[in-house]
Structures are given as C-alpha cells and as structure tokens.
C-alpha cells in the first residue's frame, strides 16, 4: 500500500477500533487490513486503549436478583432442564436466541414477526408471484420468478457496523444459507437474490458477523412461509 493509500485508511482506523464505521466502511476497512501490516500494527496498538474504556465507567453494584436469576438459568441449563426448543423449527432455538451475535433489536423484530401479518400475495406475468408481509414496520417482499426469487426488505433498522444480513432457506427441513450477504442502505432497504427456490417452504433473514455464518447465530429479523 502506498503512503497516500495508507494515509486514507489510517484516517478511518480510530473509528474502526471504536466500532464507529458504517457497515460497508468497516467491511472495506477489514479488506484493507488483511493486506496492510502497518494498519494491523496500529490497530493492535490502539486496542488496549479501547479495551480499557469500559473500565472508566462509574461502578454500580448489580442487583442480587441478577446473580440469582442468572445462576438459576445456568444451573437449570447445565442439568438439561431448559425446555427444548419449539418443535416447529430449530431456527427459533433458545440457543440461537442467546448467542453473542444476537441483538435485542433483532429479538424485538422477531417477536414482531410472530405478530406479523400477510399483506397480500398475487400472481404476476410469466408465472411470477409475490408475497408480502409486514412486521412492526419492516416490510418483507418475496418476488418469485421461475426457479428463483428476490427477497426485499424495507424499513430495516440500523445495524451494528460489524454485522451483515444473511438470508436462509428451509428445504426439506434443512436450513441452507443464501450465498449473497447484504446490508440495508440508509433508507433501510435491503435485498438479496435466491437462485433456487425449488422445495423451499420458508425464508428467513438474520444478522451475522461480517463474512456471514454457516448457521444462524441470531434470532431471525424476519421469517416468511413460502406457499408451495
């Protein structure tokens, strides 16, 4: 990387270590980081400063009820007393609910998904069909054409800079990731292509770390049943 090129990236470096880059900026920065030893060294140098920021907060004694309820849940879980996930799908398993990547924003939207309602569906020319759902202000539109389809989301809330959206399809009871990762634009719109919809009976979207995941690590933002 030239000095001029390095300077450009170096300007963004403090925002990166503070988690203050937009998702697309953070992704681009990480691509640069892979090939820039100077920036990697500078990130490592700054990390201790960022890591000690939480130590600067005013100390508050956590309520005893927090420890009690936390340990009760942990001990029950260790004994296998935690209720099994609902039979309808392992997509909604408690384990997924509690993984680190989960955001409460996602949780809120997922709860909303249960209360979501189908706005409409319709046929189209050439065998195209569209299903639309709305969940707490988030609009989900699935446009199917031929063997494939386009999943469109609107009014998606802002995401942490280190996260992307990943779509999943359920086929014959098995969950499969959709290869194309995506992020919402400033207007909250996001879309991805699903090349093969054959046999798919549900589609969902989760927030995942940059680069995506092999299996969902967060509660779905949206879940849509696909009529056969």
């Amino acid at each position: 990387v030239s000095d001029a090129g390095h300077t450009r990236w170096s300007e963004d470096l403090p925002a990166y270590v503070l988690g203050a880059l937009e998702p697309t900026e953070a992704a681009a920065f990480e691509r640069h980081l892979d090939g820039c030893r100077r920036c990697r060294a500078e990130v490592r140098w700054f990390e201790p400063a960022v890591a000690t920021l939480p130590e600067s907060v005013e100390r508050r004694e956590p309520p005893r009820s927090l420890r009690r309820s936390l340990m009760a849940e942990v001990r029950a879980d260790a004994k296998g007393e935690t209720p099994p996930p609902p039979a309808r799908s392992r997509w909604f398993s408690r384990d997924i609910l509690l993984r680190p990547a989960i955001g409460l924003a996602v949780l809120t939207l997922t709860v909303a998904a249960v209360a979501g309602y189908e706005l409409g569906k319709g046929g189209g020319e050439g065998g195209a069909s569209t299903e639309v759902m709305r969940e707490h202000g988030v609009t989900v539109k699935m446009v199917r054409e031929g063997n494939g389809g386009t999943l469109e989301l609107a009014n998606v809330r802002r995401m942490p800079p280190t996260k992307v959206l990943e779509a999943w399809v359920r086929r014959n009871g098995t969950m499969e990731p959709v290869p194309a990762l995506f992020v919402p634009d400033r207007a909250g719109r996001a879309s991805t292509m699903i090349a093969d919809m054959a046999g798919v009976d549900a589609v969902m979207v989760t927030q995942e770390p940059q680069g995506g995941s092999e299996e969902p690590t967060s509660v779905p933002i949206v879940t849509m049943s696909i009529p056969r």
Binding site: A15, P62, L66, V74
Partner: protein
Amino acid sequence: MAVRREKAERLADEELMPLVSDRDPEAFEVLYDRHGGVAYSLAYRIVGDRAAAEEVTQEAFISVWRSGARFDATRGSVRSWLLSVVRNRAIDFLRSKAGRAPKLVFDDDSALEQRPAAERTEEEALRRETAGEVRGALGALPREQSQVIELAYFGGFSHSEIAEILGLPMGTVKGRMRLGLEKIRAELAEGLA
C-alpha cells in the same frame, strides 16, 4: 465434571473458560463474580436504566455461557471479550429502541472520580489502578476529544452520525478520535513503564 467453587476461584479467567465451555456452573459463577460488577456498570452506562442494564447483562452472560468456546485467548483477555459482548448487546438494545437517545455523560466529574468498592485481589487492585488511569486519561482529554470517543463507544454512533450530531466535518471527528485515543494509549504506556 463440575469443579468445586474453591478450586475454581484459584483459576485464572483463561483457565475457567474451557470449564465454562464444558458447562460447569461453578466456573461460570466465579467468572460472573469477578466481572459481573463492571459488566453491569458498563451496561448501565450505555442504556442508562437499571432494569435494562440488568436485562442486557443477563443476556450477555447467558450468551457467554452458551458460547464460551468462542473466546479466543490470542485476541485479548477474557474480561475484554466479555465486556465487548456486553457493550455490543447494550448498543443493540439502544438501537432497538426507536427514537431513544443513548445516555451520554460528558461532564460527570463525580462519575469519573468515584472509586469502586473494596478491592478483593491484587489483580483486581492492579486493574482498578489501570481503570483509574483511564478515568484520569479520559478526564484529562480536551472535551471535544472525549466527546467523540464517548459518542462512539458508549453511544454507538458512527463517525458520520457524530459529524452530523456535532455539526462538524467528518475529518475533524476522525482527527479528534485519533488524538483522544493516542493520548489514552500514551497514558497507559506511561503507566506500564
């Protein structure tokens, strides 16, 4: 197999993590007792509400219980990792509250000066000494530098949002972030020398 509480207490955080991964409640309890206070304090600092801080902290620790295997010792301490989990959850919580502004405290000198409760171990004492240096370093920063760092780290705002909020050019925000972090880093390096 679960280790006894007394044995777990003698283990370093990094030694506890494999036990947590093996679903040992005693090891997890020790981890919570060591870091639950600062985790809750951080959550409270970000979400600004007792009940929400409690919820965020519990969710964060449960996620650690469920995913302890994801801790990577080569990338930092258990405490830093755990606090990053708490911070991410708290920021997610803020963002999930439409229209709710993060709790931001720029001039809370009493907060910066307040010392934590009794020190339990030498390690904790050293950590708190370091924390005191950070508080000092943050407090010693020019307000315009501590402000952008707090907006980013505790508020969860991006640098472009901060530029908009403060009515500043993006380059100015970036420059202040760098100057502020460099001073904190220098303060830490000096403390270790």
